[in-house]
Amino acid sequence: MAEAVAGSGIGASVRRKEDLRFITGRGRYTDDISVPGQAYAVFLRSPHARARIVSIDTAEAAAVPGVLAVLTGREMAADGLGDLPCGWLVKQSDGSDMVSAPHPPLAHDVVNYVGEPYGLVVAEDLATAWRAAELVVTEFEERPAVVDPALAMESEAIHDDVARNLAYQWVLGDQAATEAALASAAHVTRLDLVNNRLIPNAMEPRAALGIHDAGTGEHVLYTTSQNPHLERLVLSAFVRLAPEHKLRVVAPDVGGGFGSKIPVYAEETAVLWAARRVGRPVKWKAERSESFLADAHGRDHVTHAELGLDEDGRFVALKVHTTANLGAYLSLFGSSVPTYLYGTLMAGQYKTPNIFVQVHGVYTNTAPVDAYRGAGRPEATYVVERIVETAARELGRDPAELRRLNLIRPEDFPYETPVALVYDTGNYEASLDAALALIDYGGFPERKAAAARRGKRRGIGFACYIEACGLAPSKLAIQLGAGVGLYESGEIRVNPTGNVTVFTGSHSHGQGHETTFAQVVAERFGIGIDDVEVVHGDTGRVEFGLGTYGSRSLAVGGSALVRAADKVVEKGRRIAAHMLEADVTDVEFADGRFIVRDSNQSLSFGEVAFAAYVPANYPDDLEPGLSEKAFYDPENFTFPAGTHIAEVEVDEETGAVELVDFVAVDDFGQVINPMIVHGQVHGGVAQGVGQALLERGLYDEFGQLQTGSYMDYCIPRADDLPDFRVDTTVTPCTHNPLGVKGCGEAGAIGAPAAVMNAVTDALGVADLPMPATAEKVWRALRG
């Protein structure tokens, strides 16, 4: 177990540096930023799931006093702006490239989902923009919508050049060996699963403010992004909105992301373009109903899985076929989520020797689907952990013990899975045992009996999950189709007075980097964390960055800072050696001092910093200044893993499911700030419980979104959730300097399977589609 550490160094639950501005209302989110002369945008959105745009009459809208412009996709295309790209090219099973349909930022000829933007009104004030937008007359020629992913391949083609609505057929693993092992298995468990479509719902709706300076040609875009440098790259290289050196993208305080603020969207593209066209800054902020329609959605898989076991209960083969709904267009990383972030995780924590995964990625007339917290790994965990649980029930085995029998053991690492990953380290049994102890597994029968006396059916469910985080080794990622490297940048500027400004390419939108990264740097330099300022989210200040997703920030961005700090210390040793007239090999750095070994001579970090900027007594062969940077490219993914256990009680009268206990024991490697790590687990679990019990993004057969507000789409409220009991085990990551693995997604990965295993245990049914609402459970109780 992680020990509590006092002070502010690594391992201490330091209270967050960023909190003071948030709790006093001084946060600075995109919609809080206003500039002189700013105009307001409202988007024209398709009311149809699939239609041809016959004509757009903007005359009446344009004539409204206060309207500055009514712009459409046709004008954007005429201005030469390019399409929004998909950043990950997936290779199909026959070696050919996936089929990527053109994705114009604003639709011009056809619209392919309800809410798709095809124009915008820019006006002096928001009310005028809304009023004018109502006056735009657009004639659509409706076409039949393709909504159900399971039927997409048999439906009319949505895009001209995409046969069967199939973006790709992707495979991983040895099909022949897997089928042979299944054919000779002593027992085969079969399961059909649906992973429900989710709508991420960060509490801050997306927003953007575009500014163009006609005098300098500079463009500035304030936007709600998890990865501002990636946004700048896409808008420059693909959309051709502005050259990279004339475009500054700022993601200031961002109110949650969960993946939904990774993609580069139509709206921020359009406001910056409109600002240039109109000659005024243009601001847009999503209404929540627009967020539901036009933010990237998550999950949405239909899966058939088969697990073969031998006479002893050892897993011999797993075969998975999934149809993944990609939506109307391939979003920025939409193609990679149901492939490389999904199929590669099918070994889970187990020594299953034969695995084969086949994925059909299909287009439908629904909002694009992209990363949502966990991104592929919750879906993989759901398949593995639901089918393992089902196998245990079919065979009458204790589900914890069947898992234990099949775990990869500590002595097996590094462990190469049959699905392309090499796990560097782990101790899965340690987290399983800790979780069993925490939940008091032995006491479950008694708790179940007590619940029965109250008219409740109590169930228990496990999820022993693994995830691949710390994205990613660049060469490997690019070889697999990524359009960018996945290293991270870090820069440390030691100021002349000895305090430190840290620049990171990671982006914090709730994760607390301003604190955690400061802890890492402060400990390395032996200074206080209040002497460290962390800067992020501005391409005008930070050199480059790939941003925050995939639980990568500390493992990759934090490691870059460690490397940069090492360079600072190295240069400091040379300066100190000169000043102390010692050999550099005799100078050590410890506890904030450069010390000549076996002497009483030393200099403080601050003294050396000052000397670097006032180089009077200074080495001739050394440049002044004390500022260093590093790009850190990881050697491998990191592999956080753990055991989550849920207990639920089902009311037999009403079908209501209450989550009564939830324990999570996670191995994130070294923990820098336990308070923040536990908070990340709480939030992830809450979202995972939301998926299992409450949330579903639902379209009707015409492609109209039926869950377009908080009155129809239920994200967890305070009284929907119990207290969570969380702990960690520690096996340090073997290949990054901090030994860390990442903690942001684990809760959302483990919780859905744990909760649904508990619900199906309580009900005595093989499966129930998520979310397990009272109505579905009530029906299941009545057969």
Binding site: G27, E204, G256, R288, M675, G679, Q687, S709, Y710, D719
Partner: protein, 159 residues
């Protein structure tokens, strides 16, 4: 429309559209951007402020309804160097992550503590069900509210 109201202790005379919402007045006319808008159906509670001492969702109050009223926003309950006990408890218990729901959550929590004695974990959860948070899973928010309650009861009146 002329509007006269007191915001964070200061008397304000404003000219606002007749259909303006209280939250528009707070954010756009007074520039108090700590009060947030997270939805369009009065569900999320990010816009919660105190109107004559009671928590209200300011997206659901017409500006005209606040004529003559006392309004307190997140900017009015404490300062960085003199935090309200609820603000201090949110920081101490890591009851916020992205910070977007936080101002509304703090304003709702202060109201809850003010009108309920002997709160427990269940009643805090029920009392805050009108304020959505997507980051924290609420666990630490409950901790913070229960920690702030006795401090508020025993301490000075912070409004």
């Amino acid at each position: 429309m002329k509007l006269s109201l007191t915001v964070n202790g200061t008397r304000r005379e404003l000219d606002v559209p007749a259909n303006a919402l209280l939250v528009d007045v707070i954010r756009e006319h007074l520039g108090l951007t700590g009060t947030h808008v997270g939805c369009d159906t009065s569900q999320c509670g990010a816009c919660t402020v105190h109107l004559d001492g009671r928590a209200v969702k300011s997206c659901t109050v017409l500006a005209g309804q606040a004529e003559g009223a006392e309004v307190v926003t997140i900017e009015g309950i404490g300062r960085a160097d003199e935090l309200h006990p609820m603000q201090a408890a949110f920081r101490e218990h890591h009851a916020l992550q992205c910070g977007f729901c936080t101002p509304g959550m703090i304003m709702a929590a202060i109201d809850l503590v003010g009108r309920c004695d002997d709160l427990d974990r269940r009643t805090v959860r029920e009392g805050l069900e009108g304020n959505l948070c997507r980051c924290t899973g609420y666990h630490n928010i409950v901790d913070a509210v229960l920690a702030a309650a006795p401090v508020m009861a025993g301490g000075a009146d912070h409004g």
